[in-house]
Symmetry: C2
Subunit: 425 residues, 2 copies
């Protein structure tokens, strides 16, 4: 199955008009960026570029795609013939996945003909907006957790395929594992799991449920102890699994209070090495509140998979330069009061202190480093090892470590750097 | 490709334990419901059941699935053998797609063995939580639009496959069209489109861009007039397309002010039939504010595809009854202070005034009607015509029309009916 119809209709009707008047073959530059970060966020994290590359490889129009377009008279015969031979021949550069971005940072740039770059808009934005929304939220949770491992377990709250991408994006940002099996298979994300209340409720007693679980997994498992009475559940868990039990899980109540009681009880039962894991609508704010609690593992569901209140990164894909009739490139930008953008084919560089500079002449200022990497070079898709997931994860860890303290705060604040600041720099 | 690994790992480790101790074959009832609606919402709308049915048909474990599970030692050999033969043999009933629900309304009920019902949890919830979140938000926008057509155009803001499901859910709720081509192909949703700023910016002048568009589409098209100066754009659009132009689109600025100016200008240019369509971060609140404006068509993107601030419907899937050793069914529910649920295999009925009643003995009270329909009958998947999209859309229109005035308000309020009220009734 191709990815070609994961596209807004107007991309193809615009292509139709561009084929008719010859604009289709003009050289063009499109840029992806966010005008602003979600309210209170101090940085964004790029997610999805590795995954995007595979989708762009499959961006071809097969017979079934073309039949739909013809049957619904969406494009002319000339355009259908053009699409039948479609193959992206341009160049795509982007911030490495896992890197941080600010408002107006050029995140991904497409150089190509107007026609070929235009029609990638929807799929580029879908992937980057979703995966960056999750990575950006997940990165804040990773910061709040201060080194304690996080399990992503939001699959059931979001679209079944978005769930797989969300698990990958959270892992890129620094989550330790996911509950999503397909993310394990497709992207090599380590998978983890415990047990649900159904497992307890299905048996005549909690003891029988715990015994069934331990019989299968041994004591290297996590037992959910809050179906009935938590203290009783913990005593039964240790009684059944022994003091070598890996972990207990709490999924309700005041987690600050309950985790302290659980820790004390486990210690008094001679199980000081049994870990306390907690779940239940956690997000970066709750994780920060729980920093002083004796919690070893956080399980995060809804809030990470839905971007912690910002389900989309709000990136846009804008034409910033186009070839004129004389063959020269001209910078373009919409002149709207409420939606600003900056024209021009930008080279993005950063200094070691994080300052970002754009140039329009392709140069990198002294002491700075160009930060875009090439994903597609004149139509050649560069090799990715399993969507580059591990590499992106390493980049994210380095990017988080390099954040200045005021950007790494969970409390709401201003974006670390705005484009205005760069322009003054 | 199967859908079997779109599943949380713990479903399969719990299955593993259930196979070992025999719980796997106990008869069980699982129920899907929301404990609460998103803040301020007065009703929820069921989305996704038609789409779910196709995914459940493909919920089989093929060789590749089993290899992943074996390689990662997620399940025992006995469980892998069990999964190789997996075929759902139970019964699934649900509220019809497009119907409204309240907190704690049993939306979908699975009767089957504990094992077969247990492992459907993740995929059932993913589909219902996503599609119902979009349908619920979309239904409010449909109410706010008071009969004016809405175009769904949020694909670029969300995961590329979630976008297709979101377009379908918005259409079910009453949107007129979508920009998403794959939703057109997969589900028969009518597709629509206009043009983007890139189309204007790519040409030397707005006039040339409009001329290229009209040359392809004729005057039966929508011209985007706000790239530079709106009044100038409208004059050029009518000049190029004639007074028979279908519509102009505004995508920035104060839409109340700009739509009035645009309407007046179009009228003064002799184009009273040219429609005014508006886009730009619309949601149900803005649409309601614009009710007095001379607007003919609303295009809604981000806010409908992300559930207007509630990206998930928050549904859960809970064991409510299980067969005991004596063969009798026993009602079960978790005893937690913060997460209430009600045990028992419920028959859901409604009276004409909307009141909802549950019974545990399978009866429907006099004067009420049972509202669940059967999707899967003892393993037989009932036929769906194109995922039942048109049927669901008709149901949604009827459900919205039947909402009492206080439930059909956009302003924040209480859910129309709560389970407490039902229990008192």
């Amino acid at each position: 199955m191709t990815t070609a119809l994961l596209t807004d209709m107007y991309e193809l009707t615009m292509l139709d008009a561009a084929i008719a008047d010859g604009t289709v073959s003009r050289r063009a530059v499109f840029e992806t960026f966010s005008r602003r970060l979600p309210a209170g966020r101090r940085f964004g994290m790029v997610g999805g570029t590795g995954r995007l590359l595979d989708l762009l490889r499959d961006f071809r129009f097969d017979e079934a795609d073309l039949r739909f377009l013809r049957d619904h008279r969406i494009v002319s015969e000339a355009t259908a013939a053009h699409l039948a031979d479609f193959r992206f021949t341009g160049t795509i550069t982007a911030l490495p996945e896992g890197e941080v971005y600010w408002p107006h940072t050029p995140v991904l740039t497409v150089h190509g003909t107007f026609g070929e770059a235009l029609i990638l808009e929807t799929v580029v934005l879908s992937v980057l907006n979703h995966d960056s929304a999750v990575a950006s939220a997940a990165a804040r949770m990773v910061i709040a957790a201060q080194g304690r491992p996080l399990i992503e377990m939001g699959s059931r709250r979001v679209h079944e395929r978005a769930a797989v991408a969300a698990a990958r994006a959270a892992y890129v940002a620094g989550f330790a594992t996911t509950s999503n099996l397909e993310a394990g298979r497709s992207f090599g994300v380590p998978v983890a799991g415990t047990a649900a209340h159904a497992s307890v409720l299905a048996r005549p007693s909690e003891r029988e449920a715990f015994a069934a679980q331990v019989a299968q997994s041994g004591p290297d498992t996590t037992i959910l102890v809050d179906t009935y009475d938590i203290a009783e559940g913990i005593r039964t868990a240790i009684d059944v699994a022994g003091t070598g039990l890996r972990a207990i899980r709490l999924d309700s109540g005041d987690l600050l209070v309950e985790s302290r009681k659980a820790r004390d009880l486990l210690d008094s039962l001679g199980a000081p090495d049994t870990k306390v894991s907690v779940t239940s609508d956690l997000d970066e704010y709750l994780i920060e509140e729980l920093q002083g609690a004796p919690i070893d593992i956080y399980g995060v569901g809804t809030r990470v998979a839905t971007g912690s209140g910002a389900a989309t990164a709000g990136m846009v894909y804008k034409l910033v330069a186009i070839e004129g009739a004389d063959g020269s490139m001209r910078s373009v930008a919409k002149k709207s009061t409420s939606k600003t953008s900056t024209g021009g084919d930008k080279t993005v560089s950063r200094f070691e202190d994080g300052r970002e500079v754009w140039t329009l002449d392709g140069t990198v200022p002294d002491g700075a480093t160009g930060v875009h990497e090439t994903l597609v070079d004149h139509g050649d898709f560069l090799a990715q090892d399993r969507a580059g997931t591990e590499r992106a994860r390493q980049r994210a860890a380095a990017a988080i470590a390099a954040l200045p303290p005021r950007a790494a705060k969970i409390a709401h604040g201003e974006a670390f750097r705005t484009s205005e600041e760069w322009e003054q720099a």
